[in-house]
């Protein structure tokens, strides 16, 4: 039995742990064996403290024996993207800048995981400072798509998606600024949710673009995603954009039996691979057969989303990454005789090419003489995009598109052309600009390569998205799938 533990869902593992037919230690030992066999091929984890996770598992088993189980994730391992703080563990953001940083504190979500009984299970690779769509921008290592090791896993939460698809862990945390949970989830055949902006505290998430960043759950099934979301989504006064208790909708709520699904056909034409179009049509057919109404909606400003995003995100990044000056933490250059040289050399040595590119772009769009033409216009475009999405979502329950225009591309294929890579995020970016919840669910294959579909809902409609995802998942064989490695 133990060699199949890595294939089980978090919900089933939790049931076995509660029934006493499984211990957390036996589960963790099985996953460590899997890690030793498979992680060298996939490169999902950048760090796993084996002695520490065994100690956490033993402590969980002891709590259970004493009848002091903490919560719904008691004894379940959750792997964490390397930009979310766990006290005493590395917090590298896959950057040379933070290569030696050990976090002195816990993120809010980490505190929530601890109080739910979870095992904090290792650090996951990512694009440096979450900037990228392929995890090729990691300064630490490459991560490969478990379904085809010559291809990228997506990004920036590529380590999270690859770890799930490779059966290395049942649950993972990602972060999503423009699609960084959903796009790798789609490419690796797993489920990823970007919550409504403000639902999950960003305290302890290393900032990239603060008005867009959200932490979210990733899993091999919608049900597991929901289990993890319920632990994460709690008020936190340390993030002033995090909803307090009085502004939260209860989770879960009953979803309407027959959803109205909006399809922005005008937005789907360009650059979408035929197999992705075909998968999308079969998803629509399925929902139609379930009695859902499929309605065409118009999102005329959707084409502005990519430029708007890259202005807003890089502007915020250039400001947020100003803190890496070699003074308080992170890399400090030894080649400096005065403070300005220390800052300049530390940044130049510590940041990789994509981070430098985005800092330069963000600096430009905020600079005197250009801020009105770029940054302020982007904020106005953001208002327009948000209004159009909210308008459409007043008429339908969810908007449905592919998650990504094409299946996972080859490692290195787009590395020299940043613009092509930025266009990967065309379907996912609007949810970040508008602060809306969005879910990617596996729905098909192009050969071995997974294809996902994307649901966007009104603010705090996560329960509706999850219910719609579960409906599809229950009728198809895509949940719980793992690559043969």
């Amino acid at each position: 039995m133990s060699n199949a533990l890595h294939q089980l869902s978090a919900v089933e593992l939790s049931q076995r742990l509660q029934a006493g037919t499984l211990t957390s230690r036996a589960l963790v030992d099985a996953l460590i064996a899997r890690y030793e066999a498979v992680n060298p091929k996939v490169g999902a984890f950048t760090a796993l403290d084996i002695a520490d996770v065994r100690a956490q598992a033993d402590a969980s088993d002891e709590r259970r024996r004493q009848g002091k189980s903490r919560g719904p994730l008691e004894g379940i391992p959750v792997a964490i993207k390397d930009n979310i703080a766990v006290k005493g563990q590395p917090l590298t953001c896959s950057s040379k800048m933070l290569a030696k940083l050990v976090s002195p504190y816990d993120a809010h979500v980490t505190e929530q995981l601890r109080s739910a009984g979870a095992i904090l299970y290792g650090r996951l690779n990512m694009d440096e400072f979450a900037m990228g769509s392929s995890t090729e921008n990691s300064a630490l290592q490459k991560t490969f798509n478990p379904w085809d090791l010559s291809r990228i896993p997506g990004g920036s939460s590529g380590g999270s998606a690859a770890a799930l698809a490779a059966g290395l862990v049942p649950l993972a945390l990602g972060s999503d600024t423009g699609g960084s949970i959903r796009q790798p989830a789609s490419h690796c055949g797993v489920v990823g949710l970007k919550p409504t902006y403000g639902l999950v505290s960003r305290f302890g998430l290393v900032a990239f673009a603060s008005s867009l960043d959200q932490i979210g759950p990733m899993a091999r099934s919608v049900e597991d995603c929901e289990l993890l979301l319920q632990v994460l989504a709690t008020p936190d006064a340390r993030d002033m954009t995090c909803f307090d208790a009085s502004h939260r909708q209860p989770l879960p709520v009953a979803a309407p039996a027959a959803l109205r699904i909006g399809v922005p056909r005008g937005f789907l034409g360009k650059g979408v691979a035929p197999e992705v179009v075909q998968a999308l049509e079969s998803v629509l057919d399925f929902y139609r057969r379930q009695g859902c109404a499929i309605v065409e909606v118009d999102l005329p400003s959707a084409d502005l989303a990519v430029p708007t995003y890259y202005v807003v995100a890089t502007a915020e990044a250039s400001s947020n990454l100003g803190r890496y000056d070699g003074v308080r933490y992170g890399h400090r250059s030894t080649q400096a005789s005065n403070p300005i040289e220390m800052m300049t050399n530390s940044r130049s040595e510590g940041f990789g090419p994509e981070v430098k590119r985005r800092i330069l772009l963000g600096t430009f769009v905020l600079s005197a003489g250009y801020a009105d033409a770029y940054y302020v216009r982007a904020l106005r475009a953001r208002a327009k995009i948000r209004a159009e999405y909210l308008g459409a979502l007043a008429k339908v329950d969810v908007l449905l598109t592919p998650t990504v225009p094409t299946p996972a591309f080859k490692v290195g294929e787009k590395a020299s052309d940043p613009l092509q890579l930025y266009l990967e995020d065309i379907f996912t970016i609007p949810a970040n600009l508008a602060g809306l919840p969005a879910l990617s669910v596996p729905c098909g294959r192009s050969g071995q390569l997974p294809i996902g579909f994307h649901l966007v809902g009104a603010p705090q409609s996560e329960a509706k998205l999850l219910a719609a995802g579960k409906l599809f998942e229950a009728a198809h064989g895509f949940a719980h799938q793992q690559a043969a490695l």
Partner: protein, 96 residues
């Protein structure tokens, strides 16, 4: 829209030192990306910026002192420290 794009000035503002090769590469890549941004210049946009990030007074927590990390934890992650303080290169030159 991208007239006056000066990679050296930008690098200075961003406190980045670029090699001659990097200057050429980044200038070319940023120009390509900024070309894609032209749609923003041509779009018919509302006069108002997005208000999604306007935080109401009610959302702000009380400004009360709370626990902090403490000097030991802070200096442990600092690149260099001495006597419980973070040390940096000399800021002011010696003057006679």
């Amino acid at each position: 829209m991208a007239e006056g794009f000066d990679i050296e000035h930008l690098a200075k503002l961003a406190r980045l030192q670029l090699t001659p090769e990097e200057k050429v590469l980044y200038a070319q890549q940023l120009n390509s990306v900024l070309g894609h941004f032209r749609a923003l210049a041509e779009a018919d946009l509302p006069a108002q910026v997005d208000d999604a990030l306007v935080v109401s007074e009610a959302a702000l927590r009380a400004d009360n002192p709370g626990p902090t990390l403490g000097a030991e934890a802070v200096t442990r992650v600092a690149p260099a420290s001495r006597d419980g303080q973070i040390s940096v290169p000399r800021v002011v030159d010696d003057e006679a």
